[in-house]
């Protein structure tokens, strides 16, 4: 009887080790237990393709998704010491805003290709080059084959490739298309905490992980990235069940 009870924990540990896929890759932790614990490897895999899309077609959700990726890239740039390549066909990104998310002007190189095909080629070239510490791309038209290519080169170069997926048409869900991305996120902006004085509090986002390899999806509210790209969990929400958090709008969405 006792012998069984003694051997039980080790057996469970062994079973866990067998059941979970071996994480022999580098991870980029968010630094927040609420997110890191729910990610399969304790953080985002560094050498992988990650996608984020806006929760709705509104511009503010798009901005939140942009900042979410900028924060990940900023933390990686700080750790690896290389520039971040930001590839986009559009020109409405405002660099001072990016700088406040941790990607200072000295940290980012921008590329503005003509179309999505050229953009994907640029990303692939940059990954193979190996100089950037992370790559962010804003795309709307990516095929499954293209994402698989990016995932493979990213894994080979051990470099995060972050794609901001834009809807191709209004009310089209960019994450409905198949993709080989390691994780797929859905980011929207959420109401900030009301301050006791007049003013806008720290930005809050509704962060939803739509899909990840080797883990469950989840969603929760976090506080937006600070000037080093770090997120935070709202103090009063930290102990609550994440799935129940959100306004009526996000419960529907």
């Amino acid at each position: 009887m006792y012998a069984v009870a003694d051997s039980l924990p080790t057996t469970i540990a062994q079973l866990r080790a067998v059941a979970t896929p071996a994480a022999d890759f580098r991870v980029m932790p968010f630094g927040i237990a609420e997110i890191d614990d729910r990610l399969g490897a304790g953080g985002l895999r560094a050498g992988a393709l990650h996608e984020a899309a806006a929760l709705s077609a509104s511009l503010v959700d798009d901005a939140a998704a942009t900042l979410f990726l900028a924060g990940i890239a900023a933390r990686e740039a700080r750790a690896a010491g290389g520039p971040v390549l930001w590839a986009s066909c559009r020109s409405d990104l405002y660099a001072p805003g990016l700088s406040q998310a941790g990607l200072t002007a000295a940290n980012v190189i921008f590329a503005r290709p003509q179309d999505d095909a050229a953009l994907l080629a640029v990303i692939e070239d940059a990954v193979r080059d190996g100089t950037p510490s992370a790559i962010v791309g804003e795309v709307s038209r990516v095929s499954m084959v293209a994402t698989r290519r990016l995932q493979l080169v990213a894994a080979e170069a051990d470099m995060p490739v972050l794609l901001l997926r834009r809807p191709r048409a209004r009310d089209q869900d960019p994450l409905a298309e198949p993709s080989a991305a390691w994780t797929r996120w859905r980011i929207g902006s959420a109401p900030s905490a009301r301050l006791s004085v007049a003013g806008v509090g720290r930005a809050r986002w509704s962060v939803g992980l739509a899909r990840q390899r080797g883990g469950e999806s989840f969603s929760l509210i976090v506080e937006g990235s600070d000037e080093t790209g770090r997120l935070a969990v709202p103090a009063e929400l930290g102990h609550r069940a994440a799935e129940t958090v959100g306004t009526a709008r996000y419960a529907v969405a």
């Binding site: 405002y94 002007a105 503005r112």
Partner: protein, 511 residues
């Protein structure tokens, strides 16, 4: 016939050696400001005056005069030894300048002239006439007295530049014989023996030679003289061997058999780069641009170029840039010769890696990445966004060189997306003068604001535009009840009418 179309030009220095041979900017001989100057050189066993400035010539000194005679004539004459080698080197430098600036085919015509083949280049300099004037002006600035002649053949231009009446002679196409006719025979670049023979037979001017039958003429003056005459008239081609620019590192491969596949071209590229890297290494240079020329079997050329943002001679990197261009090479029936030139090079020496090795800096050099991306989408599409000292948001950002590290912006709250044009808001409810709006309509939707920061007042930049002298924008960061954070502004400060019309605008969104 093609030779006839050719426009050659000889610019000579009649006072050869009279200018200071050490500096291009020395003032011309004959200009006031110094004592009369004559250059003395050894001709045979005598010391002779080989050149004299106009001031000295006015005193009766002329080239060919015995040096002692000249000394006796003018006591305070400034005598200097002639240095033909230094003159030659200077002329060579001029030819190199001509190759680089005016025409790819330019050569020295010793001892005192330059050939410049203008065919196909004149229009680049505003036509022949204009180019000649600019050339004369350039020589005047550089301290040379120059004479310019433009003619169909090199020989005619040579003759007219030295024996023509004007400083600037321009012969219309196919009028060469008429222009040459009144010139003395000496203009034809004949050997001294032929000149003596011509004088003996009573030939004085070129016009005297033209009607004479070629056979007897050749017997009297010798065949080389006939060749010179025909060269001047255009009957015999006289190609100009251009002064090649040896500064340009070059590598060349001739292939046994024409190639046409991408893999083969890539192999040749790698071989050529290996050769070129050795040339560059020996010279301590790095390439900023490369030009690969493939000669096809049908005689046409395929040219591709790549550029780098920093000087480099790293073969794998340059090969990767060149490989991006393979698809632009049309091999046709095959390419049989490749030439790789580095037209733009910069010094590349060993770099001090101390800080990197010590681990003090983690910054990676982005120039390779920049080259790769620029090779694919163009140089202008890769950039950094650098701060500009302006508080007006749309002016605070400028494109800059991706290899330079820019500074950073002041840490005022700024949106992540900024609209190129602010979009008007309608039905705005706001307390004047300095409260954020309570509600507004934008893009057909009503927004109810629950919190706001501001105002952040941005004044117009009066030094840029007249209309901005009094202009004021009051920026507010507002959050609506759905959680969206926006950057709106009002034109005007709410007190003075000059500052704006109190209209509200949406300028960006925060995350």
């Amino acid at each position: 016939m093609r030779e006839l179309e050719r426009r050659s030009e000889a610019a000579s220095h009649p006072f050869r050696g009279a200018t200071s041979t050490r500096s291009l900017t020395a003032s011309s001989a004959g200009q006031v400001g110094h004592a009369p100057l004559a250059l003395i050189g050894k001709v045979g066993r005598h010391e002779e005056v080989v050149a004299a400035c106009t001031g000295a010539q006015a005193l009766g000194i002329h080239p060919g005069m015995a040096a002692t005679h000249a000394r006796a004539l003018v006591s305070d004459l400034d005598f200097r030894p002639a240095e033909p080698e230094v003159d030659g080197a200077l002329l060579d430098r001029l030819a190199l300048l001509a190759v680089r600036r005016w025409s790819p085919i330019a050569a020295v015509s010793p001892p005192d002239g330059l050939w410049i083949d203008l065919s196909g280049c004149a229009h680049l300099h505003g036509g022949e006439e204009r180019f000649c004037r600019r050339l004369l002006a350039f020589c005047r600035r550089a301290g040379f007295t120059a004479r310019v002649a433009v003619a169909d053949t090199a020989g005619a231009a040579h003759a007219l530049a030295r024996f023509g009446k004007e400083d600037l002679v321009r012969v219309e196409a196919r009028a060469t014989a008429d222009a040459l006719a009144p010139l003395p025979i000496a203009a034809l670049r004949l050997a001294p023996t032929a000149l003596a023979a011509a004088r003996k037979f009573g030939f004085d001017r070129i016009a005297d030679l033209l009607p004479v039958a070629r056979g007897p003429l050749a017997r009297r003056l010798g065949l080389p003289a006939i060749t010179r005459l025909d060269q001047a008239l255009g009957a015999i081609a006289e190609p100009i061997t251009p002064r090649d620019d040896p500064e340009v590192p070059i590598a060349e491969r001739r292939l046994l058999e024409p190639i046409g596949t991408a893999e083969a071209i890539e192999q040749v590229m790698a071989d050529l780069l290996g050769d070129l890297a050795q040339v560059l290494q020996a010279k301590g240079l790095g390439a900023r641009s490369l030009r690969l020329t493939g000669l096809r079997v049908d005689g046409s050329e395929q040219v591709v170029t790549v550029g780098t943002s920093r000087p480099t001679r790293e073969v794998p990197h340059l090969l990767r840039l060149l490989k991006l261009r393979i698809e632009r090479i049309d091999p046709g029936m095959g390419i049989e010769q490749f030439r790789l030139v580095a037209p733009h090079t910069e010094p590349l020496d060993a770099v001090d890696l101390g800080a990197v090795l010590a681990g003090e800096t983690l910054v990676r050099d982005p120039s390779r990445l920049v080259d790769v991306i620029a090779g694919r989408i163009g140089v202008r599409s890769v950039f950094r966004l650098a701060p500009v000292e302006s508080h007006v948001p749309e002016r605070a950002v400028a494109h800059s060189d991706p290899n330079q590290m820019p500074g950073d912006w002041p840490s005022w709250q700024r949106p992540i997306r900024l609209f190129a044009r602010p979009e008007p808001l309608s039905r705005v409810m706001a307390l004047m003068p300095d409260q954020p709006p309570r509600r507004f309509e934008w893009r057909g939707r009503t927004y109810k604001v629950v919190a706001g920061d501001g105002p952040e007042r941005v004044h117009g930049e009066w030094w840029r535009r007249e209309a901005e002298v009094w202009a004021v924008r009051d920026y507010y960061r507002v959050e609506d009840d759905q959680g969206g954070r926006y950057w709106v502004f009002r034109r005007g400060d709410g007190f003075e009418d000059d500052t704006g019309d109190l209209s509200w605008w949406m300028h960006g969104v925060f995350g």
